[in-house]
Symmetry: C2
Subunit: 333 residues, 2 copies
C-alpha cells in the first residue's frame, strides 16, 4: 500500500494570502486582521450567491496584489465552495484569465485545494497556483436550512456559517517564509451521525482518522508541532475530537485549536457552537495563522480542514453524514 | 507565462475502465458495450440520487475487478457529479477504503479527474488512482428542471442527461496499451448564453478555446490525431464547434466525434440534441473508445470534456452560463 503522507520533494512556498469577511466576522476577535470587511455582507451584489462569488474574486485580487502578480501568471486556480454546483467559484473566478479546476470537499475545500496545489507544483508541471474558497451565511442558510428572514431557531450544536473567503498563492522557484511540507488526502468516514445541526460530531471522527494516520506514519506526536489547527469542528466537534483522541491514546489537549472557535467570540456573538463553512478555515488560516508563521511566532502547523460530504436532500432521505479531513503540514523555513 | 500543455514525464497508464448505464443507454448504438445495464435505472435503490451514487460504486467495482485490484491499493480516488454537493460521489464511493478527493467540473468532470490523476501519478507521489463520474437522467431532471412525472416539454436544443457512470484506473510502474500523454487545464469562458436548454451552445466556445490552445502550443493540426472526441456538446454544440472552428481556420470536420452523439441514436431515441451529463463522456470513453485503443483501432485521441459551470439558481437570477473544457491526450504505446 502507498504511504499516506506525501512529502514535497521541492520547496513549495505559500507566497501570498488574503481574507475577506462580513459584518459578524469583522466584529469577532480577529476581525481587524481581515484584508477587507464588508459590513453589508453584500460585496456590492444584490443576490447572496453573487455576493459570495464576489468575495472569492476580492480575496484572490488581494492575494495577487500583495504579490504584485497578474492572474495570467497563474498556471492553475483551484477553487470550491458549498453552493450548488460550486457556483460561487465558477462565477467568482470567471474574470480571472487563468486555467481553472473546480474542487469539492465541503468545509475541507481549503485544505483540499492547498494539498492539490502543492502536489501540482511539486510535480514540476506548474510554477504558480492559486487556491480560493468561500462561504456566506445567507447563501448557505437559504440553501441548506431556511431563508434568513424565516428566523428558524437553531440548536446549541449548530454552527454559524462564516461569511468570507480566503485566497492563497503557492509558488516554486522563489523564496518565502512558509512552505507546504507534507500533505495527507483524507478518507471518507461515516459514523452514523444524521443531524445536520451537529456537523461537528459528524466531522470529528474524520479529523481523528487523518491525524492518527499522520502521527503513526510520521512517528511524531501532537506536541512535536506548534499547533494542530482544525477547520470548523466548532465547540461540539472539538470536544468530541479531544475526547476521541484521549480514548485512543492521542492527547491533543495541549495545542489543538479550531478556526471555528477563533473567528467568533462564542460568549459575545450569537453563533452557538462556533463558525463553519469553506470560508471559515480559509480566512482564519489567511489572516490569523499564516501571518504568525511569517513573523516567526509559529513554525510548525498541522492544518486539517474537515468537510461533511452530504447534501440537504440526502439527509432528508435519511442518509447519514459522511465526512472527510485533509491535512496540510505548514512549515516555516 | 507557463506552458498550457502539461506533458507527462513518466508513463501513466490507463490500466482498467468500466461503464454502467440505464435502459435508454442500453438501447442505444453502443448499449451492448457497457459492462452492465440496469433496465430499471434504479441500481437497486429507491431514490434516484442514491441510484446514481450506486452506479458510481458499480462502475468502480467493475474497473477494480477487471484489474483484480483491491480498493485499498488505490492511493487516491477522484470523483465528481452534477448532484448538489457532489453527493453521488460522496455517498457512492463511501464504502471504498481509499483516500478521496471530490472534484467539480460539471460535464467536464471525467476529463478533470483524468488530468488530475495523471498529474498526481506523474509527480511520483501516487502509484495507483481511480477516477469516477456519473449522471442520472431522473436525479438531474428533478434537480435542474422538473420531476420526470411532470412531463415538461423540451426544446430541440435540449440534451438528454445520460444515466450512467464511468470509472478508470490509472497506474505507473506497469504496462498497458493506453497512456495519458498530455493534458490541458481549461479556462472558463462566458459567451453570453443564458439558455439552460442549450448547453451545447454555451460549451462549444470553451471546447474551441482549449483546442486552439493545444494545437497552437503543440504545433499540431486536428488531422494529426485519429479522433477529436468531445464529451457532450450534442448535435447543436458540435455544429457550433465545427462552425466556430472553420471561422478561425481550424478544420475539425474530418475527425470530430461527440460522446453525446455516440451514446444515443437521435433518429430512433427521443433525445433531442443528444446525450449529456458527467456520465456521458465517462461511459462512452470507457466502453467505446478505450477498447478501440487497446485493440489498436485507434492510436491517438484528444479527449475533451466540456462543462457548464452554472447552477439552476444562477440562471434563474439572470446570469449567463460559464463553460470550461479540459483536454486529455490519450496515446497508444
Amino acid at each position: 500500500m502507498e504511504n499516506r503522507i506525501k512529502r514535497m520533494k521541492n520547496d513549495v512556498y505559500l507566497t501570498s494570502f488574503a481574507a475577506v469577511g462580513g459584518k459578524k466576522e469583522g466584529e469577532g476577535p480577529i476581525g481587524n486582521k481581515f484584508d477587507y470587511i464588508d459590513t453589508s455582507d453584500q460585496f456590492g451584489k444584490d443576490k447572496w450567491e453573487q455576493s459570495e462569488a464576489e468575495s472569492q474574486a476580492l480575496a484572490l485580487n488581494f492575494a495577487l496584489n500583495k504579490r504584485k502578480m497578474d492572474p495570467k501568471e497563474l498556471g492553475v486556480m483551484l477553487a470550491g465552495d458549498l453552493i450548488n454546483q460550486c457556483a460561487s467559484s465558477g462565477y467568482g473566478l470567471l474574470n480571472f484569465d487563468a486555467p481553472f479546476l473546480g474542487i469539492f470537499g465541503a468545509c475541507s475545500t481549503s485544505a483540499e485545494g492547498l494539498l492539490l496545489a502543492a502536489l501540482l507544483l511539486d510535480s514540476g508541471h506548474f510554477q504558480k497556483a492559486a487556491v480560493v474558497s468561500s462561504s456566506h451565511f445567507c447563501s448557505a442558510e437559504r440553501q441548506f436550512r431556511s431563508p434568513v428572514e424565516y428566523g428558524g431557531q437553531r440548536p446549541p450544536t449548530a454552527q454559524w456559517t462564516v461569511t468570507g473567503a480566503g485566497a492563497f498563492i503557492l509558488e516554486r522557484e522563489t523564496s518565502a517564509p512558509v512552505t507546504v511540507s507534507e500533505v495527507v488526502v483524507g478518507k471518507t468516514t461515516d459514523c452514523g451521525i444524521d443531524d445536520p445541526n451537529n456537523m461537528g460530531a459528524a466531522m470529528a471522527p474524520a479529523a481523528l482518522d487523518t491525524l492518527q494516520t499522520y502521527f503513526t506514519e510520521s512517528h511524531t506526536a501532537p506536541t512535536d508541532f506548534d499547533m494542530i489547527l482544525t477547520g470548523d469542528l466548532g465547540y461540539e466537534g472539538s470536544s468530541i475530537l479531544l475526547e476521541l483522541g484521549k480514548s485512543t491514546g492521542l492527547d491533543l489537549s495541549q495545542n489543538h485549536f479550531d478556526c471555528g472557535l477563533k473567528i467568533f467570540d462564542r460568549k459575545k456573538q450569537d453563533v452557538h457552537a462556533g463558525g463553519s463553512g469553506c470560508g471559515c478555515a480559509a480566512s482564519v488560516l489567511s489572516c490569523e495563522i499564516l501571518p504568525k508563521m511569517v513573523s516567526g511566532e509559529l513554525h510548525d502547523v498541522l492544518f486539517l480542514a474537515t468537510g461533511a460530504l452530504m447534501s440537504a436532500d440526502a439527509v432528508k432521505q435519511g442518509l447519514c453524514i459522511p465526512s472527510i479531513a485533509h491535512l496540510v503540514h505548514l512549515k516555516r523555513v
